[in-house]
């Protein structure tokens, strides 16, 4: 599998060279202007910075206690550099510095954190892609690097809410070393695409921990995306993830499924509408036999008009419960002895309201948008008896989270995140890039 990765990188370089030669020849014949040639062959790049400052009050957070905390969450520097048919997408995430204790987020779990959203790794994304037309209306691409596998839906960081959905680890598989092959028939507005990814199954266990390179290729994901009309997208994907819970291997494997419908429309009047509905499922397996199953349904939508945005999300997601460490917001990764202590069904309703951003023009455009976000979570044991009884553990089956803060953007923001090559989205400089990301 390492050979596949190396081959992907070589392909990217070769395609760039061939594309560049063909491109330059054709254009030279047509226009023969030196300035145009220089422009086509120039390296173009766009960069952006984002960060969210938020104060959170969670009641109860754990053991009947109300906690009030403040964070700098989702601090990212994003780059998008293009040269000929090559594109390098990077996202450097600094949550390892700002969010080590995790962000209070009822129901959220993964990477050793529970009821706090874990920090992401420093190199959140660094993907080099190359694409080439192989027939009229047919694009083929290869991408390699670290980033989002071809599974599930968009990164929650690029969606309207600050709090993460509980289903993050059911609906996305991210921060993996990977190679993605993709073919798309059609254009940006209507198309059918198939992507396949090979990657390392081990999920990150710390913000500055690198992937285990020797495990590259032990896991795979396949996604079919259909865009039947402009702004409408349906995807179905499946993945097999080898031992995500223990880096050195041996933990339960994950067989995952995801289906979603996403729609977005922007119009000239300044009105944007967005909707996502998804169903996801994770089976934890040992030797191919299912040990546990966790299911998720989520729907979210947003409307933005002249900068005022209202968004709402409803979710029902099941998660495994593990023995807590001394810090009640931490668990051991993987299930020790293949045992869990229960399955909790989380029902979470979230409402987000944000005001038009204040803007300043300087080196880049700086935008500061205040928001308030309220979430009500309700946790119940999926099956009784259980040794993890949510109402006992938290002090109440229902939890309320109130979040007030502001989202800062500088430079060019990305519209979405996690699609590469043939499926990549319109350039980040889209006039609506700031909307409903």
């Amino acid at each position: 599998m390492r050979v596949v990765g190396i081959a992907a990188l070589i392909f990217c370089c070769v395609v760039a060279r061939v594309e560049g030669q063909a491109d330059s020849g054709a254009r030279a014949a047509l226009r023969d202007t030196k300035s145009n040639l220089q422009n086509e062959h120039a390296v173009r790049g766009e960069f952006g910075v984002m960060v969210v400052g938020v104060a959170t009050r969670a009641s109860p957070a754990v053991f009947g206690r109300t906690l009030t905390e403040g964070y700098l969450t989702q601090p990212n520097v994003m780059g998008d550099v293009r040269y000929r048919s090559l594109r390098l997408l990077t996202t450097v995430n600094f949550e390892g510095y700002t969010l080590r204790r995790g962000q209070l987020n009822a129901g959220m779990y993964g990477e050793g954190y529970v009821d706090r959203r874990h920090p992401h790794t420093l190199v959140h994304e660094a993907m080099l892609t190359a694409k080439a037309p192989i027939a009229r209306g047919v694009q083929f691409s290869l991408a390699a690097g670290k980033g989002f596998t071809s599974y599930g839906t968009d990164d929650p960081m690029m969606r309207p809410f600050v709090l993460y959905p509980v289903n993050h680890h059911h609906a996305q598989i991210i921060e993996r070393v990977q190679t993605i092959g993709a073919v798309q028939i059609g254009g940006l507005r209507r198309s059918v695409a198939l992507e396949h990814t090979v990657f390392n199954g081990d999920e990150p266990y710390a913000p500055f921990a690198g992937p285990r390179w020797s495990r590259f290729g032990d896991s795979r994901a396949t996604r079919v995306t259909v865009r039947p009309a402009n702004g409408v997208e349906v995807q179905a994907s499946r993945a097999f993830v080898k031992s995500p819970g223990i880096v050195q291997g041996g933990a339960l494997d994950h067989a995952q499924r995801s289906v979603s419908l996403r729609m977005q429309r922007d119009d000239a009047r300044g009105l944007s509408r967005y909707l996502l509905a998804e169903v996801a499922r994770t089976d934890e397996t040992v030797d191919g036999a299912r040990a546990f199953r966790f299911e998720s349904m989520l729907a979210e939508g947003a409307v933005e008009f002249h900068g005022w945005r209202v968004a709402a999300r409803a979710e029902q997601t099941e998660r495994p419960e593990n023995e807590r460490l001394l810090d009640p917001f931490r668990i051991a990764s993987g299930h020790i002895d293949f045992q869990i202590i229960g399955v909790t069904r989380w029902r979470v309703a979230t409402v987000h309201l944000s005001a038009p951003a204040a803007s300043w023009r300087g080196v880049g455009t700086l935008r500061l948008a205040p928001f308030v976000e309220v979430a009500r979570a309700h946790a119940t044991a999926r099956r009784l008896p259980t040794v993890f009884e949510p109402a006992q553990f938290y002090g109440n089956a229902a939890q309320l989270s109130v979040n007030v803060g502001a989202r800062l953007h500088v430079g060019t923001m990305r519209h979405r995140m996690g699609r590469y090559g043939a499926l990549e989205l319109p350039a980040a400089s889209s006039p609506h890039h700031h909307r409903l990301h």
Binding site: G64, G187, R189, D202, Y205, A209, P228, A229, N230, V232, I246, V247, Q248, G250, L261, M263, D266, L275, A277, E284, A291, F292, L298, A299, G301, A312, A314, E323, R324, L325, L326, A332, S333, G334, H335, I336, D337, F338, Q339, I340, I341, G342, R345, R347, V348, A349, R376, H378, T380, A381, R383, L384, P385, T386, V387, A391, Q392, F393, G395, A397
Partner: protein
């Protein structure tokens, strides 16, 4: 919207609107569900009554039902392992129940049928306690402390058996990742602790052997990376160490039999059991017949603690180590085994069976000869009538450990506390 296709704009628009409507209906439906009440099976307040566990399908034959002689109730914590010496029993606790952590060591007077709680000792910086054992001379009490990063051992002096005196609570080092199990055994006159350390990311599971000659300052004499991915219990007898190495099977080591030692264990062989997931081991030495050929191996499959469990008792014939093989198996539908205790004088194996209670097997005689076999040729001990007795408790149990002693038979129940049950008879 900037539709660009060759399809008529009105058609595309109407199609998009239709999909929007469907999706909006989905949002409302799920939203209403999220804001709705609980389903019938999920009460908002915990049920104070003991839960009903997964029903067990009886095996063939007529095992005797063992009665409870008394229950020492532990309602505020989950109970883990039990060890009994004389008329004193010790239990550990596990996980988190309500707001109470599994950091309590409980001491019981078991002179009478119903265990009576004498004292409860909190182990510092512990989230969960696992194994507990008293040394063969009754001088020390050793408790395994989990989890990462506060794992270690708590070692107590038993000058006064019902008032343990803390000698040391280890911190840091290789044990910090969590001591999942700790067995103590004497090898050539020296007392050792065999500590199975949990794996962590980039930290493989490990067996750490510590010399307890100076129990206030235990000294590591060897440390081996073992198990895939877990190392679980060990069993030490006659200079031989048996290691439960999960999917790597059973490891058999010379640690004092023919030149090996705890500081330099010599691997003799490894034996795989059907299904792997090797959790615990007992080398059975029949006090009447002198038979030493059987190794009982517990398998622990994926389960939800407190409600379900999976895993069989496997019987290995180790008479010829180089040709050790599995000859028999015992299964309980709907339940899985956990720790064992063997009454070697009577040839009876007591197996804790989580939601299946306690199962007692007659293990005297040739276990490779039977009336009913599995498809792969192994004897089916249950179907062959080897299950002699069982304890199912009342109102649902989840039995972690069992200890058959001259004082009596005791079972630790995660949900209820410490049971004293009638001993099985041949």
């Amino acid at each position: 919207m900037s539709a660009s296709s060759s399809a008529p704009r009105s058609f595309v628009d109407s199609r998009v609107k239709f999909v929007w409507l469907i999706a909006l209906a989905g949002v409302l439906t799920i939203g209403l569900a999220a804001c709705g009440g609980d389903d019938a099976a999920s009460p908002t307040t915990p049920d104070p009554a003991p839960p009903i566990t997964t029903p067990i399908t009886p095996t063939t034959g007529t095992p005797t039902t063992l009665a409870s002689l008394g229950l020492g109730a532990v309602p505020e914590r989950y109970t883990a392992e039990v060890w009994v010496r004389g008329t004193t029993a010790y239990t550990t606790s596990w996980g988190t129940r309500g707001g109470a952590r599994g950091n309590a060591l409980k001491i019981w007077d078991v002179a009478n049928p119903t265990p009576v709680l004498v004292d409860s000792v909190i182990v510092a910086n512990a989230g969960t306690l696992g194994d507990i054992q008293v040394s063969d001379d009754g001088a020390l009490l050793v408790v395994a402390v989990e989890p990462n990063p506060n794992g270690g051992l708590a070692i107590y002096a038993l000058d006064t058996p019902r008032s343990p005196r803390l000698l040391v609570r280890t911190t840091g080092g290789e044990l910090q990742y969590g001591v999942h199990t700790a067995e103590i055994a004497r090898v050539n006159g020296v007392l050792y602790a065999f500590c199975a350390v949990d794996p962590a990311n980039n930290v493989p599971a490990r067996l750490v052997i510590m010399d307890l000659s100076n129990p206030s300052s235990p000294r590591t004499v060897s440390s081996m990376q073992l198990g895939a991915p877990f190392i679980h219990d060990v069993y030490v007898r006659d200079g031989t160490l048996f290691t439960a190495e999960w999917n790597d099977g059973v490891g058999i080591w010379d640690i004092g039999m023919q030149g090996g030692s705890p500081s330099e264990p010599r691997k003799i062989t490894s034996v795989r059991t059907v299904g792997g997931r090797v959790h615990n081991i007992w080398w059975y030495q029949d006090a009447v017949t002198g038979n030493k050929r059987y190794l009982f191996v517990g398998e622990e499959g994926p389960g939800v603690i407190g409600s379900s469990s999976v895993g069989d008792v496997h019987v290995l014939d180790i008479n010829t180590l180089s040709a050790a093989n599995e000859v028999a198996v015992f299964s309980v539908a709907g339940a899985g085994t956990h720790n064992f205790s063997v009454d070697e004088a009577n040839g009876l194996l007591y197996a804790a069976y989580y939601n299946g209670g306690v199962r007692v097997l007659d293990v005297r005689g040739d276990l490779s000869v039977c009336t009913v076999r599995k498809g792969d040729g192994r004897c089916d001990l249950g179907a062959s009538g080897r299950e002699k007795a069982r304890f199912l408790g009342s109102g649902g149990v989840y039995i972690w450990g069992v200890h058959a002693t001259p004082t009596g038979v005791f079972a630790s129940d995660m949900l209820n506390g410490l049971w004293r049950i009638t001993p099985a008879v041949r």
